[in-house]
Symmetry: C2
Subunit: 480 residues, 2 copies
């Protein structure tokens, strides 16, 4: 059996996801290392009025907040008109950052097993301060070497300067409720085993299985890592001799969830909808739903006001835009100012799954969000980032929320708190869940929901702007 | 062997594409019918100054041309900045028609063979006046029944009012050089064999094979038909008992082109790039290439002027925007005014194909066009709509143009003049070609070109905004 380059990548990912051989470090050691990194760094984040941020300015007239250099991002307003959902017209602040950024993970085989070069990265908004992050987070300007200045570590492996094998390279979207059409290039490259015998202190070699193990814990693995690994096509397929052995091993463990998930990836049983049907569903909704997102000045955003320090919603809902001064360092201290998004409260993202016709299906939501590049994206069954979903404070009901929050523990397959990206979002964390529906859960669903197998989701994830970042965050957590 | 719904559609399309049983009408009869329809209609198209068009107005200040009702489309200006290609900054008029339109073909089995309900449709810009068109061309307002008024024939089969089986349902782009982010829903539905025993006079039942036969002739099949059928996944696969018989039949005919094309769809040989590699190529170029298309007023477009009648380029290049009065009728005469796009000269679109590693590949171009929804789309090897490609009048050289125009006849697999959509484009036709490269043609190609098999192209065509309309027009012409 020969492996083509595609099979090579799939096979390498497969082995790394299931730790067939030994990883360089134990997962406990990696977690301890993250804690050490956390202890030896000091981070001070102090709130500062937006109008007093150093190197940022409030644009006269519009009130938009932008960096003096014109780089990074700006905070502007947006007026949204849509016929999807209950609210058909609203205005809100939004982050405008039109560049495509790079999220890159460098890998190499160590003892024949693919390891990922992960970084203990400090971000001002992080819960836990330091989270496990991709090898590289770079702006397009970094990547293109447009301007002089410090280039990020390992850039040369991602911009064609050094020879690598590209294992994954996808364009993926950011949060559509917060960013205007923002996308990042998600890329994984492999270098030869003899490359990089030494790595800097804040980096560590980790297998895919270990990253997934750490995603089971709260706020250890950052959003950038989760989105990059979510696209990994780790379906072993029949080509791999280990596939059978794996299925047996999972069966031996009496791991019902693991078996059903593996089955959802590999089964040849007939799904509820075939690919033509799924594409037809997406096409129909993109034709029916309108999304008109007009950029307006921050000053003119209805329903929001500047309270002298931050931009807030009149009823304190959703989120606020705050200003912070950040100081990071142990010996040398780096300090800067920036705006951040601070959520009003925690949110929930969750997939409900159900076995239908002998194969596990995910209940996918077609979600229209203001910043979406193409009207709607495929989202988890429940997605209310900073939504007022708690009983008593409901402004509107969230479909399927009680199935997610009230499921007995044997039907909760995955549950952890996970952070949004700590460079833009201030201590924003959401409950991430995968919940098995009980038998009475209907197969018939509203027009903006659809059942898909894991295999079908993994197919769509390859093409840009199909799965949203919340769906990808949950898929990253799946293991068998 | 059982056929799932997906297989059902693929199998029905496959049989219709290869006319295994008899069609209702011979192809000669269909062609004669089109000619008859052409003879018994009178169409007058008279040029009128844009400022004198009835029911249209020139917007004060901007000079934009729009319908008094606010419906249909408008002619505006656009300022384009890009780092792709040779010209990095230009301005031009553009059609703004933000709605998603519907292009629908109704099918049913007659004598067990899938037939397509085609329309002899008159469009003011058509060469040949009447061309073979989809069953339905509707605006979103028609489709949603937003306003009262005459609803188009057969709408009820496409908007959920009557039960149908959806065989194909894709969102596809229009001309990126002329339209701002315009897309249409391309949909094929099947009704039960006993439905529609009678059809109106201007409709006819045609098999897929016959449509493809007619595409071999100049300007008989309109662009809307070509784009809808281009998405048909007519790969038989091993599931169909007829597949072997077909291969043998083609082999028996000594049809080299047909065999190589079939092989490019079905072969399990390793293509030059796998799917991961192709998606990586697209991702890399979408990251590298910038496209900033800013809407500006028509009055302010640099390099163009209003000559008292039409909007024209200072050097008479590219196209002009003209006004026309249209009168159509035999007994009853319908008359209206509208703006149209008139090309400066004919263009060329062509795929160069080449056998590499035992499998036929198409040389695909990643093309950035001003109105593209997502920066670039996959285009034919050569695409110069109304380009000054002729020697002597070159303003810039078009890569691979001489291979296309100077190929000896045995390497020209397909060649015909085909029209752009006659509702917007005035007598615009382009030379459509598929040309086999000679042996010396390099496998190494510039960064914005890539080799793909027909199977790979047919995969991408399903996901929206991957293949542009020129590429789809050529794919529609492929038969074995």
């Amino acid at each position: 059996m020969e492996y083509s380059p595609a099979n090579h990548a799939a096979y390498a990912f497969f082995r790394s996801a299931f730790s067939i051989r030994e990883a360089v470090h134990s997962t406990a050691r990696i977690e301890a290392w993250l804690k050490e990194k956390n202890l030896c760094v000091s981070v001070m984040v102090e709130q500062v009025p937006l109008h007093a941020l150093q190197q940022w300015e409030v644009e006269p007239g519009t009130g938009n907040i932008r960096h003096q250099s014109g780089k990074f991002f700006s905070i502007e307003g947006v007026r949204v008109k849509t016929n999807a959902g209950i609210v058909s017209l609203w205005e809100q602040p939004i982050i405008n950052q039109p560049e495509i950024g790079i999220l890159g993970i460098l890998t190499k085989k160590i003892n024949g097993l693919l390891h990922f070069l992960m970084q203990a990265k400090i971000e001002p908004g992080n819960i836990n301060t330091v989270q496990l992050s991709p090898t590289l987070q770079a702006t397009r300007s970094n990547y293109m070497r447009v301007h002089q200045g410090k280039t990020p570590l390992f850039l040369e492996y991602f911009n064609g300067e050094k020879p690598v094998e590209v294992l994954l390279d996808q364009l993926q979207s950011e949060q559509g409720a917060r960013f205007l059409r923002k996308r990042n290039r998600n890329i994984i490259v492999e270098v030869a085993p003899d490359e990089l015998p030494e790595i800097p202190d804040q980096f560590i070699w980790v297998t895919l299985a270990q990253i997934k193990e750490l995603i089971c814990k709260d706020n250890l693995v950052n959003m950038d890592t989760r989105t990059v690994i979510s696209g990994i096509p780790f379906a072993p397929g029949e080509a791999f001799p280990e596939a059978d052995r794996l299925s047996e091993a999972i069966a031996g463990k009496n791991n019902r969830a693991g078996l059903l998930l593996l089955n959802s990836l590999l089964s040849t049983a007939t799904p509820v909808h075939d690919l033509t049907g799924l594409i037809s569903w997406i096409t129909r909704l993109k034709t029916l739903y309108e999304l008109d997102a007009e950029r307006i000045s921050l000053n003119s955003v209805q329903g929001w006001h500047y309270d002298g320090t931050s931009w807030v919603h009149h009823l304190q809902r959703y989120f606020s835009v705050i200003g912070v001064n950040v100081s990071i360092g142990n010996r040398e201290v780096i300090s800067w100012d920036q705006p951040m998004i601070k959520p009003a409260q925690e949110g929930v993202i969750a997939f409900i799954v159900k076995e239908i016709g002998g194969i596990l299906h995910f209940l996918v939501q077609a979600k229209v969000e203001v910043g979406n590049f193409d009207i709607l994206e495929l989202a988890p069954t429940v997605q209310c980032l900073t939504g007022n979903y708690r009983e008593g404070v409901n402004e509107y009901s969230v479909p399927f929320i009680s199935e997610v929050l009230k499921a007995p523990s044997d039907r909760v397959w995955y549950s952890a708190m996970q952070s949004e990206e700590g460079g833009r979002f201030y201590r924003e964390q959401n409950l991430n869940r995968i919940v098995e529906a009980d038998n009475s859960f209907p197969v018939e669903v509203p027009e903006n929901y659809c059942w898909m197998t894991l295999n079908q989701l993994m197919n769509f994830i390859q093409y840009n702007n199909y799965l949203n970042i919340a769906a990808r965050s949950l898929i990253a957590a799946i293991r068998f």
